[in-house]
Assembly symmetry: C2
Homo-oligomer: 535 residues x 2
């Protein structure tokens, strides 16, 4: 079988979605699919029971319902079905009221822009959609506060300074307890106040009912909150209000996104692996890394608007699959590392290593056949659409040529790749792509027997951070009281935390850099540094 025959044999085209899949440049052998068929059967059963409402996230004793968001009729409970339908309706009504000015700010001015305050699953999806589908003609412009960096927050604020009376703040936190988001909210709140405005009258929360955030929003009388559900994980919340509200506010057609996802779900219920694109992907991941993540996944979308897709997948894949224990409690340290930006730009960055260096990855190319997206062409860009940079050749032909060239060059040097090709980039195809990877992650998790829906490892870092802040306040107390310059170890002794002297040193360094009142002396070694708060 030559490579063209192999290409045709495994080529999969979804005609309704106009998306095609090429796995011929992965070097699996003819027996691979049959060898994997027991795992495939298990994965299909797992998916079926998940979709029917099994507790697919056993650690947290939760349903996993993100697939119902685009097909509410499939949810196992008719109340849920109604809730999901009502939620989509509520999102649309809310956004339409914002657009019409029926809901307006304190000074009764129509909202002109949105500040989304969220992090991780509450920001990456909306950022992706906004960048992939937005345009300068969007109904509302959207900006993101996605960290607890006060400098970063101020930088975002500078863009909207003096305009907060026409700025809607959307605070997104499923649990309502995410401290970065809480801080962003307080930082923005202070800025609304400084402009003589009430934050509450320009703020809406997207959160679970009765969460901490919901309580704050009620107490302070924000705009009525829009609820999501605890059976939707942050990284799979794009089709819940978390993703739908910002998209709809921007003016993006959320129905087409939901439709694309729903259609992809249908394809990815196929029991025939070679006809099921999510099985194809997950099988290729398994093949590439021997089911142990031995190869990194390099995601290369050849389309500027998809540059965030690799970052989005980095979260979806790594947070879902990067697990210490399998479902039986065995230590497995699973995962797949994901990185990438966009082609052909990355050709001039790290493709040198991909082609010549370490063969520790497989590439996932994403191409868009239509060179000018509808989001761009509606701006009237038609003059330049077919601009020829050489006789009969457009910039888009080059983009496509570079994709093909890189794919060949990698293959010729024994580096494998998958290509996913969408005909046009729009809400429908983006919805479908996201659904595709969500389901591929679910299948892969079944193959390797892990829980893809929790994130137990994140807690350790948060707890450790909490301890640091508790220590900080003790250190501050000592500094306030003491009149002598103290070494880290002396401070540690005063607060009975001698095992924490390194942390105390790091805290002192940070405090000293941010307060002119703290005098630091340094003589080479950290244990000899001294710190004094001038009174």
């Amino acid at each position: 079988m030559n490579s063209w025959q192999r290409f045709c044999k495994y080529y999969l085209e979804l005609h309704d979605l106009e998306i095609s899949f090429d796995i011929s440049r992965m070097r699996f052998d003819e027996e691979f699919f049959s060898k994997m068929s027991p795992q495939v059967s298990k994965a299909l059963l797992d998916m079926e029971s998940l979709e029917k409402g099994a507790i697919a996230n056993p650690d947290e004793n939760r349903l996993v319902g993100h697939y119902w968001l685009r097909a509410p009729e499939l949810s196992p409970d008719s109340n849920l079905t109604q809730e999901i339908i009502a939620s989509i309706k509520q999102v649309k009504e809310f956004c339409s009221n914002i657009h019409s000015g029926k809901i307006s700010g304190e000074k009764s001015k129509k909202f002109e822009r949105v500040l989304l305050i969220g992090i991780g699953g509450s920001a990456l999806g909306p950022q992706l959609v906004s960048d992939a589908l937005g345009s300068s003609e969007d109904k509302l412009e959207i900006t993101f506060v996605d960290n607890t960096d006060p400098d970063g927050i101020e930088r975002v604020y500078q863009k909207v300074k003096g305009k907060l009376d026409t700025t809607l703040s959307v605070v997104v936190s499923k649990s309502g307890g995410t401290l970065e988001t809480r801080n962003g909210m307080l930082e923005l709140g202070a800025r609304y106040k400084s402009e003589g405005l009430s934050f509450a009258k320009h703020a809406v929360a997207i959160t679970c009912e009765n969460s901490k955030l919901d309580q704050i929003a009620k107490e302070q009388k924000w705009l009525p909150a829009i609820y999501m559900w605890d059976w939707v994980g942050g990284r799979t919340s794009l089709f819940s209000p978390v993703g739908l509200v910002p998209a709809a506010l921007q003016g993006i057609d959320i129905d087409s996104m939901l439709e694309g996802a729903k259609l992809m779900d249908v394809h990815t219920r196929s029991k025939e692996a070679t006809k099921n694109p999510a099985l194809l992907l997950s099988l290729m991941w398994h093949f590439a890394g021997s089911g142990k993540g031995l190869k990194d996944m390099v995601v290369l979308p050849y389309k500027d608007r998809l540059v965030l897709f690799s970052k989005y997948l980095q979260q979806l894949v790594m947070e879902s699959l990067g697990k210490e224990l399998d479902l039986d409690g065995n230590k497995v340290n699973q995962g797949i590392a994901v990185y990438g930006n966009k082609g052909s730009t990355d050709q001039h960055a790290y493709i040198q290593q991909l082609r010549d260096g370490l063969n520790n990855f497989f590439a996932t190319f994403i191409t868009v056949q239509e060179d000018i997206t509808s989001s761009t062409s509606k701006l009237g860009a038609t003059n330049f659409n077919n601009l020829q940079v050489e006789d009969g050749v457009t910039s888009g032909d080059y983009l496509s040529g570079f994709y093909q060239g890189t794919r060949s060059a990698l293959y010729d040097n024994n580096r494998d790749s998958i290509t996913i090709s969408v005909k046009k980039l729009d809400g429908r195809s983006l919805g479908a792509l996201i659904a595709l990877f969500e389901r591929a992650v679910s299948f892969y998790a079944s193959f390797v027997n892990i829980n893809a829906y929790h994130q137990p490892g994140v807690e350790a870092g948060k707890k450790a951070a909490g301890l640091v802040l508790t220590l900080q306040s003790k250190v501050q107390e000592v500094l306030k009281k003491d009149t002598c310059a103290l070494k880290p170890e002396e401070i540690a002794a005063k607060i009975n935390e001698t095992s924490q002297v390194e942390t105390i040193f790091l805290i002192l360094e940070h405090l000293a850099a941010n307060s002119a009142k703290i005098v630091k002396t340094s003589s080479g070694s950290p244990d000899q540094n001294t710190y004094l708060l001038t009174k």
Copy 2:
């Protein structure tokens, strides 16, 4: 030795630069440094001869001179010294003339913004500097065209549409032969024309003298070109006009960047490994991946303004170290995979996998002690600098706490990390950080005996892309002539390229998606598709 003692033992603080290094959380043993001392001696000698003007890039028979850019007096040739000094002067004069309006556009209006057209080494550095140090008060706003995606180019254009008479286009290509950049230039040229303007009168080239681009610029009478040298590689060109022109246009103090880099070079000439931060880093890379890149480098700057630093390092490290052959011609397939975005945001994305999943990486934390950068505070942000989100606790304390928490949580689970801490983020520290990694890359290349200064693997992809475009024009000829709907194999036969049928199919798919005149029929398998150009 407890962890605090180990911390103090290896802690390195550069007092002049206010940068510190912590390698205590890498689990090397006490003998590691002495074991590596032969490689360290060799690396120091290699660096010395490189700095003295040896042909450190033997494949291309070139000097490697980027370290002279910030210390022209060290270049081996006094003519070069004068050239570098003159170049910096020229950059400053040019930018000052742009700022004053002495150099203005066709309609004699002062330039208000810059469009930088470049890719890879000609874009990543300027993007990093712009994002790290810029502010809304910059002298000129800067936007980037860094791909041959016509949709992406149009999207950038929409932001400056109607304002090209006050827009300076800076076209950056060392060789002048980079096709993505050539395309960007042509695309923008057409848009200037559509606004009734001459591109030439708003364009300046940064390139090597007598390059293709230089020739075009001369023929078309652009603003006088600013030259760089063939002994500066794209990925290390930030201190050449490639990086200095856009930075200076933006209003960033390029002297402080140069000074920071120069000071870091001094530190990294130290023969004592534990006092030489670039040796520390490169040794840790060697330790982590056993000199074979077995661990990915995850770069986590805890500062929004440094989010592009990981992308910058991805290029610098991977393009430099990702090599097939060593200097003796042995096949080694070297490299280190690099990825990362920013903390604490990434905590909510993929840190789950870092802590719990595959232990296939080491982390490099970068922290900035001063919470509010000078670029931000000059905007008058002081009102909110010390905003307390809890009693005595700022958002910045949280950022620092999350860094510490993540570092501990990783370490406790046997994941190693390095921390680089800068007191404040400004031109000086950014210059120093860039110099640091440039030199660490040089040292590591010596350890593993590779040429860090060429990129032979990139050619293969470009060549393959060229073949695709040649094939495309043949395919287009057939479509133009033929009146029957043809299958890919039939077209391949007509142009005597039967071995290229897969490429021809991919070309046809792309052409069909972009021309309403091409009728495609599809019946399931690619080899049965037909294509017809309606006349």
